[in-house]
Symmetry: none
Subunit: 191 residues, 4 copies
């Protein structure tokens, strides 16, 4: 017998992967159940509605976003840690290419689904807060320009990250995502 404790998890993972493959618009509960190898009604035994399952996917995605990071040498400087943010972005794209696709799907869904929006807001706040703290440390340590407002700078960094992902999605070959990030970080340095 399969690990019944993990059925919910299996369903969330299957939905997550299907969203990455074909988007939320083409997500079908039947396909999710089939991927797990169970009957469609069993899916509804674990999640009352499709919406509930999607909310659980957002939670899973958030957890991945939080925990999936490239290794960072202990004692790294703020500059190294900020660069590491981008390294992590590339790392995620390599080991878990679904993640950025699912995040973007949810970003759009957020506008019409309050459950999704609330979860996503927390995720964005956490991410911005983390980048902000790194920049604040860098400002103190002299890694970054003294007149930088960490909250504003974090908004610039995270927004670039998201926007460059979008552009990369539409024109992967010609968009200089990495160089852009490097340039952005260098712009933050002291004169």
């Amino acid at each position: 017998m399969p690990p019944t404790d993990g059925r919910r998890r299996e369903l969330v993972l299957a939905a997550y992967q299907l969203i990455a493959e074909s988007g939320l618009e083409e997500l079908r509960t039947r396909d999710i159940a089939a991927k797990v190898g169970i009957n469609i009604s069993t899916l509804h035994y674990y999640f009352e509605t499709k919406e509930d399952l999607i909310a659980a996917v957002v939670d899973h995605m958030t957890e991945l976003f939080r925990t999936l990071r490239a290794p960072l040498a202990p004692g790294a400087s703020a500059l190294e840690e900020l660069r590491h943010s981008f390294v992590t972005q590339m790392y995620r794209r390599r080991v878990e290419p679904s993640l950025e696709l699912v995040v973007q799907e949810m970003m759009l869904r957020a506008r019409r689904d309050e459950k999704v929006r609330a979860r996503l807001e927390l995720m964005l706040l956490g991410w911005n807060g983390y980048v902000e703290s790194v920049i604040a440390r860098g400002v103190r340590d002299g890694d970054f320009a003294r007149d930088l407002d960490p909250k504003i700078a974090a908004a610039v960094v995270t927004s670039y990250s998201m926007g460059s992902n979008l552009q990369h999605g539409v024109r992967p070959a010609s968009f200089p995502q990495e160089a852009g990030y490097e340039r952005l970080v260098s712009l933050l340095r002291p004169k």
Copy 2:
């Protein structure tokens, strides 16, 4: 304009508005036809498939994106013109709030619909090219740092623009979109 072209245009506009209101996922051909006041079969007389109509909406959207800009004083400096990019973004949000929503919808759709992707790529290339030319002029004129690569800097500026729009969508109250843009522009200036 011949009646045929008028009808096509009406349909495109109706679809564009419905996408802005409820997203591509909830777009129904019946609703589009009803909004125009014609029969559902007549819609198919003008557009063979829903996909074709959506492609036409992308064209309309691209046209809007290109032409809808805040007035710019003739003889403006490159610095003023780059700042003006952001002013235009805010201007669009005010006079045509649908535009940024539709662009984001299409951005996601692009991944699964080649027609949409190709059109969007052109739009992004045009936009980046324009920003690039402004920055190149600014570099020549001394408005921007001499060591700036205009293509890379343009990628940073346009990506920030898109990413900040996304974050603004999820948390409109707390996200410092304008301050971020101001900071980004100032970072590009000569030391």
Copy 3:
């Protein structure tokens, strides 16, 4: 091509018959469509919801109840006309046995479906009113007891009619429906 004007009617008739055969509880839109020989979605082209179709069946049933009557000789006395009420009941059971079954189904449904209840109330009011007018005439003509309140007597007659139908449904062989009616009419006569 089938008489498109009659499609609605065909659907109502098919639903009416299926209700008579197996009751409202087992009524399936798919079965109705199949009986008419059309696709299930065509059914929804004519009736938005199953509930709407059922309401139309109540209208049809009411119309049948009103118009389906045994022939009554012109110039009949009130006594003959009241007896004729019961003759009509038997006549309906013979030429349209579905009718009393459908009426009883709707009677029960009325408790939970306001549309049905309202329509049925009108039908009952019409029926009671008709019986009342016959009895009133009979009282004037001396066919019925002088101290009869026509409204009350009508309530007795129509209620007997309905209740005896119910009992007849459960024990058709042993229930003396006709003799009961005859006795009831004779009780109304002058002493």
Copy 4:
């Protein structure tokens, strides 16, 4: 009472109440189990099928119908006892309003469920037999008209009772149920 019997009874009572509230059509085994506070599979331990449980509800209902009666003074005349039939009907509606609803539901179900029909036939035979015996006594005692056939008269009385309940369900405000009963009883009296 052993626990098994207690559980069965609990389930029957829960089903009975749910039928009164929403009708047989909306009766769900899950709701019955939930009302009793047990698992849905436990319900099937006590009743193999839903149909069996419904049959048990009919038995419970019949028992209620037999035993739930307004108090009758010992030594009452046949006239008083027949009037008391209607008093009992009103009494039941007051202390156990569910009963008449459930009876009507089952009356309809009887047409398709032989178990229900057989049980209901017994109930109707018992009821008619009781009324018949009262009327027979009244005929002997001079309370009722000498030429009354007790079986026929009982059919009239019980049918009025059932039919007036139905009409009362559809138009509670305007239907003169009590006056009708009073008139019916008075019609049975000697001239």
